[in-house]
Assembly symmetry: C2
Homo-oligomer: 186 residues x 2
């Protein structure tokens, strides 16, 4: 028996594990005192995303097919960072892999939780400036497209629902707010 906020955790049973997630079934006592259950999806990686913006006010989006949803999705460069790895180093690596971009200035734009009723997935978004172009080398399980577009057009896509990926929407809007407060071009 373990107190978790207004819940009591009675038993924990591991029901599935792969290299990315670990699913547990919990018997609990709910906040109202009644017995209940909770299925919890643990993520092994920390989610990081970055909004790169160059001196011309352009950003980059990455397009890829998302298997769980069966949809094609345009997103900011994102990736999973292993436990113990520095998130900023991790996203620098992901950015270079997916787009070939190298950035000299990094701004932290705060943390997020993607799906807190079921998952413990946590992450952080960054703004990257001082951009130079290297060579991309994506992972084998990724088949991705990269496009460069004006930052304000990407924000427009986040606003009107053409971008649905929550990490991207959070990153683009927080980047816009940071630029508005710091004299950047939006």
């Amino acid at each position: 028996m373990k107190k978790k906020g207004p819940w009591i955790q009675k038993t924990v049973q591991s029901v599935y594990e792969n290299p990315w997630i670990h699913v547990e079934h919990h018997d609990v006592v709910r906040p109202d005192g009644k017995d209940g259950i909770y299925g919890v999806v643990h993520f092994k990686n920390f989610a990081v995303g970055v909004v790169p913006i160059d001196d011309q006010g352009y950003t980059w989006l990455v397009g890829q097919y998302r298997y769980p949803l069966d949809v094609y999705s345009w997103e900011i460069p994102e990736g999973g960072v292993l436990e113990g790895e520095d998130p900023q180093l991790g996203i620098q690596r992901e950015l270079a892999e997916e787009t070939g971009l190298i950035a000299s200035e990094w701004v932290e734009l705060g943390g997020f939780h993607t799906s807190n009723s079921v998952c413990n997935e946590s992450g952080r978004v960054y703004l990257a400036r001082g951009i130079s172009q290297g060579k991309a080398h994506p992972d084998g399980d990724e088949q991705i497209a990269v496009k460069r577009l004006p930052f304000h057009e990407a924000v427009e896509m986040a606003r009107d629902g053409r971008i649905t990926d929550c990490i991207s929407v959070v990153g683009l809007f927080r980047a816009r707010e940071w630029l508005l407060r710091n004299g950047g071009k939006v």
Copy 2:
């Protein structure tokens, strides 16, 4: 064998199910032609969130402990809508349950996917205006706090990372953009 974008789905095995999620283990061929696996978390509910804004420019946040993360989280009113239920009717019900609020004007602010590398969770956010106050009656598994605050303060919390819940950050920023374009107070 089933083609799914650049992936091939070879086998699907159900590994866990409860009233809210269904977890599957897939054997796949990856986009690079190599064999791989995919753990997919299916959500049975559609996620809906609403940003209510009254004539004084105030909104409401709901505070609750989030069991999977072991954190206390301030969020816009949110809920899960059953398959077949109209999302707008569903969020009207959730808003009334959690806060007692009734709204006469509803604006759709577009869809989102919370965690598209693992989960198929989809949802939609709304802006609600023409607010009047009824009586709240939260679910037994919810122990929630409700606070009314200026809308611009809630946006500030979404910007600086005091609000981490992605659905809330997406809802608040999209609501702000809608108001900016439609002459509302931000």
